[in-house]
C-alpha cells in the first residue's frame, strides 16, 4: 500500500471515529447534547492537528526524532504564562480580562520564547542535540516547578478559579477559545504555505539545505514562530499532553515511509485526531471517566514505542 492510499485510509478512519463519537448513544435532549459533542470533536481536531503539525515541523528543523516541543517544555511555558498573569493581577483580572485577550498575551510570550529558542538553536556553528535536549528538560522542569510555586503562593480561592480557567479540559471547553483558535489556525496555515516547499529539503540537514538554496535561518526562524503559536493553541484548548506529539509523528513516519512532508503532516494530524478521538471515546464509554485521556494515550503509545524499539528498525 502506497503512502497516498495509507493517508486516505487514515482519513476515512478519522471521519468514521468522529461520526461514531458524535452519534453514539444519542439519547436525551438532542438539542443540548449534539452541539456539545460537535464542539468537543472540533476542539479535539484542532488540538490534535496543532500538536501533530507543530511536532512534525519541529522534528524536521532539529533534524531528529526525539525532540518535540513538549519535551522542550514549550507547553509548560504556556501554563506558566497563564499562572503568572493570575499571580500578578489576581484571578479577578482573569475573569474581567476576556479570555481571548489573555490567550493572545500568552501567544505573544510564546513567540518571544520561540525567538530566544532560535538563538539557542544556532548558538555556535553546529547545533548540538544533546545540549538542546538537556536545556529543554531543565527548562520544562523549571517552568512547571515555577508554575506550582506561584500556585502555592496564590490565595486558594483564586487558585480554584485560576485552575478552572487555565485548563479547559475536553469536558469543559471554552467555546470562545474554539472560535479564536480556528481563526488563529487559519492564519498560521496561510503563513506557513510559502515555507512549505522548504521542509523536504530542510529534512536533509542544514548543509544540504543551504547548498540547495534554502534561505535557511530566515525560514527556520519563521517555522519556529509557527510551532510556538500552534503549541499555544493546543495547550489553551485541552492542556499539555506530553507524549502525543512524539508518538504520532513517529508513527506517521513509520507508517507512511515517505519523506514528503505533505503526506507526513497530513498523516500525523490524522493519526493524532484518531488517537485523541479514540482515546476520549474509550475514556467516556468504557472507563466511564474513571481514567484520563493522557493515561490512555501514553499507555497505547508506550506499547507501540516499545514494539518499534524491539523491531529494531535500523532504517530510521
Amino acid at each position: 500500500m502506497g503512502y497516498k492510499k495509507k493517508t486516505i485510509t487514515l482519513a476515512i478512519v478519522a471521519i468514521l471515529l468522529a461520526v461514531l463519537f458524535i452519534f453514539y448513544d444519542l439519547t436525551g435532549n438532542i438539542n443540548y447534547i449534539l452541539p456539545r459533542r460537535i464542539m468537543k470533536v472540533v476542539a479535539i481536531i484542532i488540538t490534535g492537528g496543532a500538536i501533530a503539525f507543530s511536532t512534525t515541523i519541529f522534528m524536521t528543523i532539529t533534524n531528529n526524532r526525539i525532540l518535540t516541543p513538549s519535551i522542550m517544555g514549550i507547553d509548560q511555558l504556556y501554563v506558566l504564562t497563564q499562572t503568572f498573569i493570575i499571580f500578578l493581577f489576581g484571578s479577578r483580572s482573569l475573569v474581567m480580562m476576556s479570555s481571548t485577550l489573555n490567550y493572545l498575551i500568552s501567544i505573544i510570550v510564546m513567540v518571544v520564547f520561540a525567538l530566544l529558542f532560535y538563538r539557542l538553536l544556532f548558538r555556535g556553528e553546529r547545533n548540538n542535540i544533546y545540549f538542546l535536549l538537556l536545556i529543554g528538560m531543565i527548562l520544562g522542569t523549571f517552568f512547571s516547578s515555577f508554575t506550582s510555586f506561584m500556585q502555592v503562593l496564590i490565595d486558594p480561592n483564586e487558585f480554584m478559579i485560576a485552575q478552572d480557567k487555565m485548563f479547559a479540559s475536553i469536558n469543559n471547553i471554552n467555546t470562545d477559545l474554539v472560535y479564536v483558535s480556528i481563526i488563529l489556525l487559519t492564519g498560521v496555515v496561510l503563513y506557513f504555505i510559502p515555507y512549505y516547499k522548504y521542509l523536504d529539503v530542510i529534512a536533509l540537514g542544514q548543509d544540504h539545505a543551504i547548498n540547495l538554496g534554502v534561505p535557511y535561518h530566515y525560514v527556520v526562524k519563521r517555522l519556529l514562530i509557527i510551532v510556538a503559536v500552534l503549541i499555544s493553541i493546543a495547550t489553551a484548548l485541552i492542556g499539555p499532553i506530553t507524549f502525543l506529539g512524539l508518538l504520532v509523528v513517529n508513527i506517521a513516519h513509520e507508517f507512511l515511509k515517505t519523506y514528503r512532508h505533505f503526506y507526513l503532516i497530513l498523516g500525523s494530524i490524522l493519526i493524532s485526531v484518531i488517537a485523541l478521538l479514540g482515546g476520549e471515546f474509550i475514556v467516556e464509554r468504557v472507563f466511564t471517566f474513571q481514567t484520563t485521556l493522557s493515561v490512555i494515550i501514553n499507555f497505547v503509545g508506550g506499547i507501540y514505542f516499545i514494539y518499534l524499539l524491539l523491531k529494531e528498525n535500523k532504517s530510521w
Binding site: 533534524n63 526524532r65 540537514g205 543551504i210 535500523k314
Partner: protein
C-alpha cells in the same frame, strides 16, 4: 573565477583561517591540501556560505556571495560535505531529484527530469537508482551524492574530502569522473583532499594550507616539491617521477 580576499575565521577566539587570499581559476581542478586542522574544510565551507566568515570578501564571477540571493547562488555553486548521514530514508533517484530544488522548488518539470536522468547516466547509477541510500556501499553512496550535485548543474562544484572511506578502485573512479566533468563539461571543481598522490595526479592547481594560512598556491608541479611539502607536513617526502606523474613516497 572565485576570488577570496583577506578572509578570516575564528571559533571562540581561536583563529582557524587567517587573512586568506587566493583565486580559483575556472575550468580546472583545484585541490586544497594540508595537515589535519589546517582549516581546509573551514575555507571550503566559507566559499560555499555554509559557515559565515568573520572578515574578508568572497567573489564568485565578480559578485559578492553575501549579496547574491540564496536560490540564485545555489544555481552557481554547490558543495558536498564529507559526512552525509541523513535522517531521511531516500532512494538514490529521490536524492538526485533534490539536486533540482534550486530550479524546480519541488515541482519538477520535463527539463528537470532530463537533468536527473543525465546525472544518473553520468554516474552510472541506473542499476541502483531505486535502492535506498542506506542499502548502498560507501562508494555507491558517494557516487549518488555526486550525482545529486551534478543534477544541481552548477558551474562551481566544491567537494570536501570526496575520497573519504573509499578504497583505491572507488577513489580512482571518483577522481576520473571529476576529471571528466572538468574536461568534458567545463566545470570548475575544488576539492579538499588528504592523499597528496591523488592531488598530484588529478589536479591542475594545488593550494597548500597550514595553520590557517595559505602557504603556497600554484600549478601542481610547483607545489608537489620536496621543499614545499616539507614545509607543509614537517616530514621528508621523496618525490619520484613515474610515467610523467609526480608520486610522493612517504611511507
Amino acid at each position: 573565477m572565485v576570488k577570496i580576499k583577506g578572509v578570516s575565521k575564528a571559533y571562540n577566539r581561536k583563529s582557524v583561517i587567517q587573512n586568506a587570499t587566493l583565486s580559483i581559476p575556472k575550468g580546472k581542478i583545484t585541490s586544497f591540501i594540508g595537515p589535519n586542522g589546517a582549516g581546509k574544510s573551514t575555507l571550503i565551507s566559507m566559499i560555499s556560505r555554509l559557515i559565515a566568515k568573520d572578515e574578508g570578501i568572497i567573489l564568485i564571477d565578480g559578485q559578492d556571495i553575501t549579496e547574491i540571493k540564496d536560490s540564485e547562488l545555489a544555481k552557481k555553486i554547490s558543495i558536498l560535505k564529507q559526512s552525509n548521514s541523513m535522517n531521511v530514508k531516500l532512494t538514490v533517484r529521490e536524492l538526485i531529484t533534490f539536486g533540482r530544488f534550486p530550479y524546480s522548488k519541488g515541482n519538477l518539470k520535463k527539463e528537470d527530469w532530463e537533468k536527473v536522468e543525465e546525472a544518473i547516466a553520468y554516474m552510472e547509477l541506473e542499476d541502483i537508482q531505486h535502492k535506498f541510500l542506506d542499502e548502498l556501499s560507501g562508494g555507491q553512496r558517494q557516487r549518488a551524492y555526486i550525482a545529486m550535485v551534478l543534477a544541481q548543474d552548477t558551474e562551481y562544484i566544491l567537494l570536501d574530502e570526496p575520497l573519504n572511506n573509499l578504497d583505491m578502485r572507488h577513489a580512482t573512479q571518483i577522481m576520473k569522473t571529476l576529471r571528466r566533468l572538468v574536461d568534458e563539461l567545463g566545470k570548475t571543481i575544488v576539492i579538499v583532499i588528504h592523499d597528496i598522490n591523488f592531488a598530484s595526479c588529478y589536479s591542475d592547481e594545488i593550494v597548500a594550507i597550514k595553520d590557517g594560512k595559505i602557504v603556497k598556491q600554484g600549478p601542481t608541479c610547483d607545489v608537489i616539491d620536496q621543499c614545499v611539502l616539507k614545509d607543509i607536513y614537517d616530514m621528508d617526502i621523496d618525490i619520484k617521477e613515474i610515467d610523467n606523474q609526480r608520486i610522493c613516497v612517504y611511507y
